[in-house]
Symmetry: C2
Subunit: 201 residues, 2 copies
DNA sequence: ACCTGAACACCGTTCAAGT
DNA sequence: ACCTGAACACCGTTCAAGT
């Protein structure tokens, strides 16, 4: 695991191959298959490792909204800790392997706002999709810039500052205020005006 | 292009290799490199092809919010048209190649609400990240289910109906109502309470 | 203009066999 | 319990050469 994380951080996801990992461990590639069933399993473990580094800062007031924001920011920081971190996590999460922790943590924070479990889970998924998409984008831009690959006006023009913390916080704000409004417009104990209707299955 | 799209839709992204594509065209693999510089370029063209199929339904009232929603839904439909469509588009978009169209269309729709260009662009990026993340998730679930791979209680339990149109619409609603609120709380011509501050660069 | 042939430098994974 | 050796079935890409 340590060797794999080192390769990931120093050379990136495309260079994290079973053969290369074996080589740095002075071992035959086949030896890895005693420890991991396959590469996907290995990547899932790495994803868990990265994600477990996400520890939200203590938030003084018990506000659910800032607690959720703290979770999202902790997750972003953790993903930024390792090169290609967001891609590793989102790919293993897409394959349905491990890494259910981030969504659970986000959902738990949201639930403190009084949302029902299903709404909390779906909102958490929305937040997670945004975080992963944003940080993936951010990291790709980082190494594209470091490689000097500009690819037509696509670089860090301040007009479209899609990457960066300000844009991240803005996206989180949109989702959280959207949720807040959800809370106000739904008549408690009555018919919520906008909720996951019976069409969800 | 047609042959590549056919392989993608029938066998999925992992099976869309240069050698396989060449074989279905009764041609040597090296022949493809006269038409495309490399595989990434080919995938970028495919992504454009998929995305160009996104035609939003006509929205009767000129409401910016429903226009934006229509764009997002058209994009989702287009991505769902081809197997692994979301992954193809988000990977090429991550590499900074082509496919700037979806974000532009979303941003244009948002701008009709009176948002400044930068806010519109960043909000469009947030929407796009959500759409791609959601549909990726959805498509992966689709073929995981079709393969009978269940991978511990992870399948289509109605409690966490993350995939599907209802969850999609809910996520879009969160972002759009968040934007609406942004419009109300910012004093026009004054200091917006929540905007992309000077920290953005 | 468009393609072949042949090669280069890789992949992930399996499996009998060793210690 | 943990690893080697050797193989299988692939990859993307380059490049001289053909027509």
């Amino acid at each position: 695991m340590a060797a794999a994380l080192a390769i990931l951080d120093e050379h990136g996801l495309p260079d994290l191959t079973m053969r290369r990992l074996a080589a740095t461990l002075d071992v035959q590639p086949s030896a890895l298959y005693w420890h991991f069933a396959n590469k996907q399993t290995l990547l899932a473990s790495i994803a868990d490792q990265i994600v477990s580094r996400a520890v939200p800062r203590e938030v003084r007031d018990g506000d659910w909204s800032s607690a959720t924001r703290a979770e999202a920011e902790a997750l972003r920081d953790a993903l930024l800790t390792f090169r290609d971190g967001a891609e590793v996590v989102s790919s293993t999460l897409a394959l349905g392997l491990g890494a259910g922790e981030p969504q659970s943590r986000l959902a738990a924070a949201i639930r403190r706002g009084g949302f029902d479990p299903q709404t909390s889970e779906v909102a958490a998924a929305a937040l997670l999709h945004f975080v992963l998409g944003h940080v993936s984008h951010e990291q790709q831009r980082l190494q594209a810039d470091s490689l000097g690959v500009v690819a037509e006006g696509h670089s860090a023009d301040p007009a479209t500052a899609i990457g960066g913390r300000a844009a991240f916080d803005f996206g989180i704000t949109l989702l959280l205020t959207g949720l807040e409004l959800q809370l106000l417009t739904s008549t408690p104990g009555g018919h919520p005006t906008r909720s996951l209707g019976g069409t969800a299955q």
